[in-house]
Symmetry: C2
Subunit: 329 residues, 2 copies
DNA sequence: TTGTAGGCGTTATCAT
DNA sequence: ATGATAACGCCTACAA
């Protein structure tokens, strides 16, 4: 394996000089810079990232904490996009990434988790799917031993940023479109999880809409479960004009219930998952660019690791009408 | 951060002695072993994996090459399980893992890819989704610069193993059950990709079945596409008694076509993906334990990295009848 | 502007 | 059985 030493010899300079060129240090003459780069090319040299990580803590590694709570298809699709977006961006930024799943750190204390991450030379973490009940994760974040970027959970401090779309506004928008298009008055809103971060924000959006349009709204928690959404719809759907759901999966459940009851009500979902296409119907939904969100999170994490301070990053979203032909391949 | 040096000082022994204890070397007295372990516990010491990786090439890192070619929902589900299974097992085995996606190494030469992997101190690779056309990946494998475990592609050499189910037998089994249960004679078989590894094996299973039961069979390639399977079924389904598909996704397409044509034909799929539940019908399929397969692949890779030689590892499969109530949550 | 040398945390090779 | 000590490949003051 060709090392920095070989490059130095080949270029006729010192190892440290090569290092400086590689890391874009100032105070290197254009001449030697060219010499070194030429040698790098000729020898096909690529710096050993492990050695680099060991040597300077400055460029730490990054961990992806995938806190998967559900075993549904829809979640897989979203997580896969999160992972791909984050890893691809990390490669671009030259950051080393390890991926961890909740099953690997469940039932561990913060101390254990912290030690493990430190032993892996982890400097920054991106956390997906935190809920208010994840005590260990919250301690991990507030401990501030690592730079963190959290997706969707509104936690910001010196070393923690959030990346998320405006769930409140998005829920407002998609529901408004659905409701106005169909001239509805009585709304059944199937929210997500009790105490969920996202759930509260989306509910707030609905409240504002109800106020503005003078609607009536019945709210029930569907726990992001298709089955529960189905049961809720069976129970309350009949004398409502529209069913607004906080996730696509629940929207599918609602639509199945309506089909069973043999009545039509406009339904809208949230997330824009491909799975939607398989139910063979159409509905409005909010489309999030999950890969883009996690890529942005990775950039934000690098900013934090370079000394930046935490902030709230908003990502754009779009309203979509998903239908079967959109997804068939 | 507490290092091996601190442990040595605390235990009153040399650094090298601590290292020996940690790595289960022989020639260490029980007495000092106990002393060291006590210090390790008290100081909450965890060895720095990055430094370990740098110091000894013995314990190299592992790369997951996810060669995702399709953008369908079903693929995501399978890949997610592959990733989770492999990473979880790697943690158990104390192996460091990085995940790479095809988009990150497309359009690169073997040399570039090799250098990159080496710069990452990668010693072993697990490859998911190789097709016969992936020239670079084949060169990478045959170059034998890394230990490789390939999923489903029958490539075995000194440093390469395969992990797979018996696709031939599995296709035979699931089709036989479907055909005998419904007393069919004329079969429409929708195969996968032309020149696909798995496609050929599954087709072979069908050939054997046709021979054994004295059936007639029409074979068409559906390219694992739901749409193509749908079109094929529309075209040839009417005067056949059953539609056997090489993937669940294509089975969904076939079922949709049959519904459209308003005729009933038994359909069977392959893979056992959760998505199946969302079509609201039932069908026989072959269920693979994807997480288990990749976990096994990781174990196999470790064996190779420890000096073992390549072999063909067969994993079990089961026949299932998936229906909506199986998956609802 | 360039080079020297010390360290990052471990492992491995020798002596002892 | 134990302990110095030299790698591993790179980064970074500091010296020249």
């Amino acid at each position: 394996m060709v090392s920095i030493k070989d490059v130095a010899k080949h270029a006729g300079v010192a190892i440290s000089t090569v290092s400086k060129v590689l890391n874009n240090y100032p105070n290197v003459s254009e001449e030697t810079k060219a010499k070194v780069n030429k040698s790098v090319d000729e020898l096909n040299f690529l710096p050993n990232s492990v050695a680099a990580a060991l040597s300077s803590k400055r460029v730490g590694r990054v961990a992806l904490l995938m806190n998967l709570n559900m075993k549904t298809q829809a979640i897989d699709e979203i997580d896969m996009q999160y992972i791909q977006g984050a890893i691809t961006k990390a490669m671009e930024l030259n950051l080393d990434v390890i991926t961890l799943f909740s099953s690997m750190f469940r039932e561990r204390t913060v101390e254990e988790l912290t030690r493990y991450l430190q032993s892996q030379s982890i400097a920054g973490i991106i956390i997906f799917g935190v809920s208010k009940e994840d005590k260990v994760l919250h301690e991990l974040i507030s401990g501030e031993k690592f730079k963190c970027v959290v997706i969707d959970a509104p936690i910001v401090n010196e070393s923690t940023s959030v990346v998320r779309i405006d769930h409140c506004r998005a829920q407002y928008d998609v529901a408004k479109k659905t409701i106005l298009d169909n001239n509805c008055k009585r709304i059944l809103y199937i929210a997500g999880k009790k105490n969920g971060y996202v759930t509260d924000e989306r509910l707030q959006g609905m409240r504002e809409l109800v106020e503005e349009l003078g609607l009536t709204m019945l709210v029930r928690n569907g726990e992001f479960s298709e089955l529960q959404a189905r049961n809720i719809t069976l129970k309350y759907g009949k004398n409502k004009d529209a069913v607004v759901c906080a996730s696509d999966l629940m929207a599918i459940g609602a639509m199945k219930a309506l089909t069973e009851m043999d009545i039509f009500r406009p339904v809208c979902g949230f997330d824009g998952i491909i799975l939607m296409g398989y139910v063979g119907k159409q509905m409005n939904t909010v489309s999030q660019n999950f890969a883009g969100i996690s890529a942005r999170a990775m950039e934000e994490l690098r900013r934090l690791m370079n000394g930046g301070t935490g902030k709230d990053v908003r990502m754009p979203y779009t309203l979509e009408r998903l239908k079967y032909t959109d997804i068939i391949c």
